[in-house]
């Protein structure tokens, strides 16, 4: 099936009444969840997984695409309206988004964020449409050593690129891999680290970890800020942009979308880095850089286009190699597997309908986000008026329902609580949680690839260097691990936020 007939078929499902209804539901739910401070796409997708249980995969995908884009946009909205970026991807948006809102132009900032996300997403999906099939063709020739090397590269990349200490990120990733070894070993049937508990035989469900480490742990910081007054932005101002502003924003959105896509394709990089990079480059390119930080419209358009382009770019390795490059795509992989879809190089040849269905859903999700959210923004932003105390209880209940509806076991609920506490402690001692989640999801696949490789080579590690592709990837993985450690020995690099103020 070629690109166009594949897409046509995908669109046929997406544009049916049922399809559109579910994208709509997804976009609204995603926006609402994303707007809650601290909750982002990871939580939004995780909470929606039980809902898609038993649904037609094509329709469920549409729902998820809506949720995914909605949540990213919701994060931008809370950055602009509250100066409270829920997730790190949305931090750069606060620099100019919040000043704009304070000047009474919240509506304009929200509109720019929506248009920027749309442009970034769309440009990125067009690249994805053509790049993913090409990469799939290359990836078909990959054997276990190449896969292992690739996944290791993804892990060390996310560890070295995440904020804070690389050692801490690597420890976090190692613990994720360790948690993945719990349960019956797939190759020998030996139960590992189950302590005789039958609930642990199948291993720990990734939803428990995703919701615990991210959503439940965030509840603790919501508790800390529970007395903060809810938003007082009753009037968000006009959503319209002038012709001059549109002209000013077009090149920004264009170049930042391409840049964002490229960053997103790389394993480990993704939304956070691309949004900061976009903000900084745009400031450097600007004729009046002093406007940045005081409500420059390009300061909102740049990170939003780049961030959304990167989120879609991250789908390239996910769809063509079956390997997620970030926490969010890792949860998306989990969601796809629950639906019975195994992304990877064979997806395109074996199930072209699903492959193109995913891509068509992304196009539609992105378009609907724009046309639905623009008029709905004033209403959706009322979620920010919900008192924090009530919100906290609701988030806890949604996490519990999310896990229970998949496993029907109270044991998993206690585990959820334990991971919530672990996530909270990790925040206190500044260990990033995303490497743990990604490592946990990759863990099973990595171990399998590693042992298959060694079985092929009869136990000799040389198999990882005799394959040139694997050797190169392992070398890069090693460098990704080594360079930040060398750097940390030199005087400390400034954090992106400080960097930006001084730049």
């Amino acid at each position: 099936m070629d690109v166009f007939s594949g897409l046509a078929q995908g669109f046929q499902i997406a544009l049916s009444l049922q399809g559109l209804t579910f994208v709509l539901i997804g976009v609204i739910v995603g926006t609402v969840i994303g707007m809650i401070p601290g909750l982002g796409p990871i939580t939004a997708i995780a909470v929606m997984i039980p809902i898609t249980y038993g649904m037609d995969p094509a329709i469920a995908l549409l729902l998820m695409a809506g949720v995914y884009y909605g949540a990213a946009y919701g994060g931008a909205a809370s950055s602009i309206l509250l100066n409270a970026p829920g997730v790190s991807e949305a931090v750069a948006t606060t620099f100019d988004g919040y000043p704009l809102a304070k000047q009474g132009h919240a509506g304009k900032a929200l509109a720019i964020a929506a248009i920027g996300s749309f442009v970034g997403g769309t440009i990125s999906i067009i690249f994805l449409t053509f790049l993913a099939p090409l990469l799939s063709k290359v990836a078909v020739s990959f054997g276990p050593p190449e896969y292992f090397a690739l996944m290791l590269l993804g892990l060390t990349a996310i560890a070295s690129l995440s904020e804070g200490s690389t050692i801490k990120a690597l420890i976090s990733g190692t613990i994720g891999l360790m948690i993945a070894t719990i349960g019956i070993d797939a190759q020998t049937g030996t139960p590992r680290f189950t302590f005789g508990n039958p609930h642990l035989l199948e291993g720990i469900d990734f939803l428990v970890i995703a919701l615990g480490l991210f959503a439940l742990a965030e509840v603790a910081s919501l508790i800390k800020n529970r007395k903060e007054k809810a938003s007082d932005m009753h009037n968000i101002g006009s959503l319209k942009l002038s012709k001059k502003e549109a002209k000013e924003l077009t090149p920004t959105m264009g170049r930042q979308s391409v840049l964002g896509f490229l960053v997103g394709v790389l394993p480990g990089a993704g939304g956070t880095i691309s949004s900061f990079l976009a903000y900084i480059t745009e400031k450097k390119l600007s004729k009046n850089p002093e406007e940045f930080g005081k409500g420059a419209i390009r300061g909102v358009a740049a990170p939003e286009s780049a961030n959304n382009a990167a989120s879609s770019g991250a789908f390239v390795p996910l769809l063509s190699l079956g390997i997620p490059g970030s926490g969010t795509t890792a949860v998306m992989l989990g969601a796809l597997i629950v639906l019975g879809i195994q992304p990877g190089p064979l997806l395109m040849t074996d199930h072209p309908d699903i492959f193109w269905g995913v891509i068509a859903s992304m196009y539609i999700g992105n378009i609907l986000l724009l046309i639905l959210n623009l008029p709905l923004i004033p209403y959706i932003s009322r979620i920010l008026l919900v008192p924090r105390q009530l919100l906290i209880s609701l988030v806890i209940v949604f996490c519990i329902i999310g896990v229970y509806a998949i496993s029907f076991s109270t044991f998993d609920l206690y585990l959820l609580l334990a991971f919530g506490i672990l996530g909270y402690v990790m925040r206190l001692i500044q260990f990033p949680a995303a490497p743990l989640l990604l490592a946990f999801i990759l863990g099973g696949m990595m171990e399998q690839a590693f042992r298959q490789s060694l079985t092929i080579s009869n136990g000799s590690l040389s198999i990882f260097v005799t394959s040139p592709i694997a050797a190169v990837m392992l070398l890069v993985a090693f460098l990704a691990f080594l360079v930040p450690i060398m750097k940390s020995r030199k005087p400390k690099k400034k954090a992106p936020a400080e960097n930006d103020q001084s730049a």
Partner: protein, 150 residues
Amino acid sequence: MFQTMNKKVSIILILIAIFYLVLSFRLPAYAYVPIDSDIVPIGLGVILLLLSGMLYFIKDQEQQENKEHILKSELPVILGVICFIILYIALLEVIGFIIMTVLFLFLCSWFLGYKKHTVNAIVSIILPTLIFLLFDKFLQIQLPMGILPL
């Protein structure tokens, strides 16, 4: 020896790594494969041991005091919420989803300092009922009924 946060965390992690390694070495052997199920866990245990050792020698980032201060003032509230969650989980299958969720939402919000009791009660009753109907009728997922004779 334990003066900084990194050193404390590093010691705890080293203990975890040793515990994990001991368990890994005690995994039963399986004779018919060249690569047995203990290889990867042993490797991971060693890696964690090395990384935690490196962490011991890394200087802490600042702001630690500030964080600990917040921790102390908020800890009772967080522990309180954890107790609520444990009770909720423990009684979920016994008492049932609807009753427990109504109680949890109302009491937890109250505990956190939400003063508008009427609004709280309305939300606490309507939401669980709606969620239950959504799962039961629309998604065909059975949430625990408990003592409610529905």
